[in-house]
Each structure stands twice: as C-alpha cells, then as structure tokens.
Symmetry: C2
C-alpha cells in the first residue's frame, strides 16, 4: 500500500470542496422548499441571512448545531444535508 497521507495543501483544498458541496446542497434544498429566500430561512432558524449566505457559498465552517437548525427549518434531517446524488 502506498502512503495514505495527504499533503496539507491538498487537504485544505478538499475541505473547501466539502464545504462548497454542503453549501450547494443547502441552497438546493432551500429552492426546493417553496423557493425560500436566504432571509426567510435565516428567520426560520434564528440565524442571520448573511451567515446563511456564507454557508451556501462554502465560506463558513458551521457547527453541527447550526446545521441542525438549518436542516430543521428545511424540513430535512441533518443526514440528508450530506447525502449525495439520490433524488
């Protein structure tokens, strides 16, 4: 087996992609939720709209509890925020 380790620079890149994928997913779910606006979603879960926007753009590294708030407001489970393709 080769070296499993990943260069730190690559690691950062991967993490960025991960956050962006998460953001895209949230945005998608938001649109599917009656074309809700970031503002409306922010109101639902008591988070600032700019904060929501930042997450959707993958610029934020949110905590689980905030993810849960968002998932709740979107009517999905946290698990679904991380699920790929299906649907």
């Amino acid at each position: 087996m080769k070296d499993k380790r990943i260069p730190l620079s690559k690691q950062k890149e991967i993490e960025q992609q991960f956050l962006q994928a998460l953001g895209k997913k949230i945005r998608k779910l938001r649109f599917e939720n009656d074309n809700m606006s970031q503002e409306a979603l922010g109101l639902e879960c008591n988070l600032d709209r700019t904060y929501i926007g930042g997450i959707e753009r993958g610029e934020r590294n949110p905590t689980v509890l905030n993810l849960k708030k968002i998932a709740d407001a979107l009517g999905v489970s946290v698990e679904q925020l991380f699920s790929e393709g299906s649907k």
Copy 2:
C-alpha cells in the same frame, strides 16, 4: 395544527440530546474500529484527545470540518455519523 414553535428551554434540551446522540455514535464507531482509543483517533485526525472525549460525551459542538476529519479517520462518511439505527 398546533403551534410548531418550541420553547427555548426545550430547544436547548433537544440540542443536548442531539450532540449526545452524535457522540454515542462516534464512540460506537470508534470501538468498532479495532477498539481504537480516543488518543489514537485524535492522532489520526489531528485533534486533541480531550476534545474527542468532549464530543463523545456530547459536551462539544464541533464544526463540520472536524466531523469530517473524524469520519475520515473512522473510515465512514459524515452522513453515517448522523444515520440512525440501521447498522
């Protein structure tokens, strides 16, 4: 339909349960992973051992990226950290 809103005090309680469920899950996966120690897991994902312990006890509110690190170290997807029952 009754009031969907939840008293803030209850909300905190629910969040605690959520973090604890997550912690239990991680602990379970850690044991299933060759009875790995918190210390070894911490080393794997570059996180402090006391921090891992705190998460498992539901006392911490970790960020997604750290969850991803842990999931990676445990050889599972982040999604699986939130999946219920079904093995």
